[in-house]
């Protein structure tokens, strides 16, 4: 048994969960926040048989897209007058960050 923990963007969660269900998998969603952009994202837990890990990782890859997020930097970065009008910068945000952990014991009670 393995536990897949995937941090994904909110826009992809619905598509990911529907595809997981179609594939016969169960999932649990937790609201989370990114450390850098401080924006909301979603942490999804999926407990699966070991031989299904590749399939679920591929499913996450297909469901989650990377995007560019426009962020207006908080602090003025330079010294001349120009730099006090912060221009938005593009920050790339990946489709998903995936951790696969080994499960010692799994039970449904």
């Amino acid at each position: 048994m393995k536990l897949v923990i995937a941090v994904v963007q909110d826009q992809d969660v619905h598509r990911l969960i529907e595809r997981l269900l179609d594939g016969g998998f169960s999932a649990t969603k937790l609201a989370s926040t990114g450390g850098f952009l401080k924006e909301g994202n979603t942490t999804v837990l999926v407990g699966i048989e070991e031989e299904k890990v590749d399939q679920v990782v591929q499913l996450v890859r297909d469901s989650c897209q990377s995007r560019k997020q426009l962020v207006t930097p908080m602090a003025a970065v330079g010294t001349s007058l120009n730099s006090f009008i912060p221009r938005p910068i593009e920050v790339p945000v990946g489709g998903a960050t995936i951790f696969v952990l080994d499960v010692d014991r799994f039970e449904k009670v």
Copy 2:
């Protein structure tokens, strides 16, 4: 050291936490959502000594009940007029889904 991750129904969380405390265990609760029913549930983290795993799993088993949840299906399923008035269906929801993970290192600072 092991980390027990249990996804339980909201109605059982208070009873589960009180029983864990009575047993001398500590716990952390996280609000979560079921992938299929899209209803709120709770993910509980309990870090414990390895030899206490059986006791904690039994405690979860005793505190969490399985129930039937009435769900009105979103999509009309048949073609005749009859099927456009969706009848609620009963979906079984288990007492708890429990993952026990191995902890490399545990610290309280």
Copy 3:
């Protein structure tokens, strides 16, 4: 690859995340609740290379302080009239509770 799961007090989260970012680490925050005090706290996930575990644990130790929390006990504890006016008690709350888990597989998609 290791996954650090740290349960910390809300007052320390901002300082912890900024120090993690300064150190070149990424992090994800999840709102959580303590089982005993039933107060809000934060569960932070940090995926890191194995050789960085000591550095991140030290960083958590430096960023998170233990405090005393004043709690008014719910139930009256004695029999005489005196005990029906509950006096607040001090409960120590540690800086952080840290679990380090082994990660089988890590992917960014």
